[in-house]
């Protein structure tokens, strides 16, 4: 049913529908409203689940790891420093092939301390073995959680999924969302049946030491699964579209006026909505602009990116994160997709915008298109304030 609802509340609603047996989380802005909502649902008896209150994100991640190992569906959510505090457990969850689903309400990283949105938190954990899918709006954020559980619990996959949604912009934004009905959720997402689980009646050991004779194969297996999962993601997305009447296509990328485009901006998340507005304005003036939205950042859809951009002369990659001392994180992947290929853009320029909640306006996007010239640039910061860059020290 269509509702006008806050993003966080909509996520709580869909998690309730997915009915995890164990939920554990620690409050951190801008994720807090999600788990507050779930805690209330559990307290009121609306949702039959074990909500485990913990003293830190490290423990929250550990609780869902343990819960998942006992063979039940689990859920957690976090942001920023909270995700970093979880980090070693996050890698363990993937290494142990546990189908945990987590929401990352994207927020900047300290220092300086900053509660506002960018994507540095999840992007910094790109190598953890988790899927990362980025929502543009709250409808997608809701739907992607159902797809996340199906994907994670697929016997061919058995890996955790992080659904990333921009903090405040989506988590605290109220908009119209069609919350999937319970019977359709049940049709799409059957109960989780684990391949193996911790059970005192049939004891097994999980997360053991793997010496040099075994470790590499465990890592290789995850890499293989990730590569194969490009196809599974598309397969599950198509099934989702069928049940719920949406149009997410392969869930890898979204092409917006890229076919005949001369200039395309590549980005992830909610900023793509703003980019599409500018693309429409440019098209109305007869300029061939487009947008390529990366939905799946891990696994990264190199082949789809190649197909979408191979005939586009100029590409701008807009990152809401940095890899300090190197090329920006999404830009690296786009450039890699074309290395050694015959076809491809003449220019792939990289821009950084919106760090720590700096507002990305229509003018910011206009500026990216303006700076996308024949001269390639790397990590060109948009909307910088030069007056703040002067250094002044005391004696």
């Amino acid at each position: 049913m269509k509702e006008f609802v806050e993003g966080s509340h909509a996520i709580a609603e869909i998690i309730k529908a997915a009915s995890p047996g164990v939920i554990s989380a620690y409050p951190i802005t801008p994720q807090t409203h999600i788990v507050e909502g779930l805690a209330q649902m559990v307290a009121s008896g609306e949702l039959k689940s074990q909500f485990v209150n913990v003293e830190s994100e490290h423990s929250a991640a550990s609780v869902v790891l343990g819960g998942s190992a006992t063979g039940v569906r689990v859920y957690t959510a976090t942001s920023s420093q909270g995700l970093f505090y979880m980090q070693e457990v996050v890698f363990n969850i993937a290494g142990m092939r546990l189908p945990v689903v987590m929401t990352c309400a994207n927020r900047a990283i300290s220092a300086p301390i900053n509660i506002w949105n960018d994507q540095q938190d999840s992007i910094s954990l790109r190598d953890s073995g988790w899927f990362q899918i980025y929502a543009e709006d709250n409808q997608e954020a809701v739907d992607f959680h159902l797809i996340a559980y199906r994907l994670a619990e697929d016997k061919r996959v058995m890996l955790p999924v992080m659904v990333c949604m921009d903090g405040f912009i989506l988590t605290h934004g109220m908009e119209t969302v069609d919350i999937p009905e319970q019977d359709k959720v049940n049709e799409f997402l059957p109960n989780y049946k684990p391949l193996y689980k911790l059970d005192p009646a049939h004891p097994i050991s999980m997360g053991l030491l793997a010496d040099p004779d075994y470790y590499m194969e465990a890592r290789f297996a995850i890499q293989e699964t990730m590569n194969e999962s490009i196809g599974y993601l598309s397969e599950i997305s198509r099934e989702f579209n069928g049940v719920f009447g949406r149009d997410y296509k392969d869930l890898l990328v979204e092409e917006y006026h890229t076919k005949d485009a001369e200039k395309v901006i590549v980005a992830m998340g909610s900023v793509c909505g703003t980019i599409k507005e500018v693309v429409d304005e440019q098209r109305a003036k007869g300029k061939k602009a487009g947008c390529l939205r990366i939905i799946s950042y891990r696994p990264f859809p190199y082949a789809r990116v190649y197909e979408a951009l191979k005939d586009v002369p100029r590409v701008a990659v807009l990152d809401k994160a940095v890899s300090l001392g190197a090329y920006a994180p999404v830009a690296v992947e786009i450039k890699a997709a074309f290395y050694g290929k015959k076809k491809g853009p003449k220019v792939i320029s990289s821009f950084v915008a919106g760090l720590g909640g700096r507002d990305i306006t229509l003018e910011s996007i206009d500026e990216v298109f303006r700076r996308l010239t024949a001269k390639e640039v790397n990590s060109d910061f948009i909307d910088l304030k030069p007056e703040l860059l002067k250094e002044e020290y005391g004696e």
Binding site: T29, M174, T274, E277, D359, S364
Partner: protein, 183 residues
Amino acid sequence: MKEIRIHARAGQGAITTAALLGFSYFNEGKYPYAFPNFGAARMGAPMNAFVRVDSDPVRLRSQIYEPDYVIIVDPTLMRGFNCFSGLKEDGVAIINGKEDMELPKLKAKQKVFVVPASEIAMKNIGRPLGNTALIGAFAAATGELKLDNLIAVAKNRFSGKAQEGNVRAVKEGFEFVKSKLKG
């Protein structure tokens, strides 16, 4: 597309105001996007809430710099900020304040309505939370939303005594502006 910018201090209910306006637009078949922008994370700090609404889903995610409408919940903010910054040539501002308050010079087609929303709230709710009176005033000043719809939204949002008081406040805010327009 219409854009509304609300100026308030954290704790004064600007997010509720944006939400109530959003619910009202939603009920009238529109696609609203209501969102806050926090400054410092503490009570009393200046903050904005926004509503952007269109007949199709809203994709634009930036803050609002050229609003059609401005709602000023706390007039003391006008001392430190230009709350009218970017207001459209024919924009409308609703200010919670006293009738004799000083107003900046506005453009020819811009309209300002000073509404004693805090007084209306004190009388009806017993607390100086003028949000519901302001949305009533907004509906009368702009013709964007129907009074019956606002009342339904307020009834849905509040319960018990707060419901009665807020519904009265919506009506009084609406009537106050209506009488100004007639006068």
